[in-house]
């Protein structure tokens, strides 16, 4: 009877032969292009009704803190 380790080593060798190692190294730094794209985003005008809506929601959260907790769960 062959030792267990020998079986494992054979399986490992067979798997390595069947699946050649993949090159997982990044060839360039992806963060600078991402930062550039974030900076390229134009600042959008927020219409008055969206400001009004946001203000109304802030008011509701202040006046009814219980409902804010409820929304913390539901959102």
């Amino acid at each position: 009877m062959r030792p267990k380790n020998q079986d494992y080593e054979e399986i490992q060798r067979a798997l390595k032969d069947a699946f050649p190692s993949v090159d997982t190294e990044l060839h360039r730094d992806l963060w600078p292009p991402m930062l550039r794209r974030l900076e390229e985003q134009p600042v959008r005008e927020v219409p008055w009704y969206d400001w009004a809506l946001a203000a109304a929601l802030a008011g509701i959260a202040i006046l009814f803190p219980k409902i804010a907790l409820l929304f913390a769960y539901h959102l």
């Binding site: 794209r37 974030l38 985003q41 969206d50 809506l53 219980k66 409902i67 769960y73 539901h74 959102l75």
Partner: protein, 149 residues
């Protein structure tokens, strides 16, 4: 940039609920472990942690899929989401014992009593929050990833 369109749509949409969850969870953990409030985190966390971000991702994938056929604003698309998520959230909360109905109140976490007269405002608040979140936050993530917004 047309590779992995739906994967990008999914990833763009899950950013907001995932970050929001971190804040909410930190708040609940603080309340439970510092102030010893009886908040059953393990019972209520599956809904906001597992369901909401995935539904956001799938909803944004649907938005991207619909764009060539039906060009509608992202804010309005997001506004429709609480119509499904609200009842689902309440059903899960009721099933797990997080929410129950007693003496004219909706009781959450055995701690917060919400009178019935609050409830008619709930859907409007949810629609408004989702409209703003989708229009500005998810819309920003979509633009960064080169998706329609």
């Amino acid at each position: 940039m047309d590779r992995h369109l739906y994967l990008r749509a999914y990833m763009a949409a899950i950013v907001v609920p995932t970050l929001w969850l971190l804040l909410v969870l930190a708040g609940f953990c603080f309340a439970r472990f510092v102030y010893h409030l009886p908040l059953p985190i393990e019972r209520f966390i599956p809904f906001p942690m597992a369901l909401v971000p995935n539904v956001f991702g799938l909803w944004n994938m649907l938005y991207v899929k619909l764009q060539p056929h039906w060009h509608h604003p992202l804010g309005l698309h997001g506004m429709a989401l609480p119509l499904f998520l609200g009842p689902a959230g309440f059903a899960i909360a009721a099933a797990t014992g997080v929410a129950r109905i007693a003496q004219g109140n909706l009781i959450y976490f055995d701690l917060v009593r919400v009178p019935y007269w609050y409830l008619p405002f709930g859907p409007f608040v949810a629609l408004a929050v989702y409209y703003l979140v989708w229009k500005y936050l998810v819309g920003y993530c979509n633009r960064v990833l080169g998706l329609p917004s």
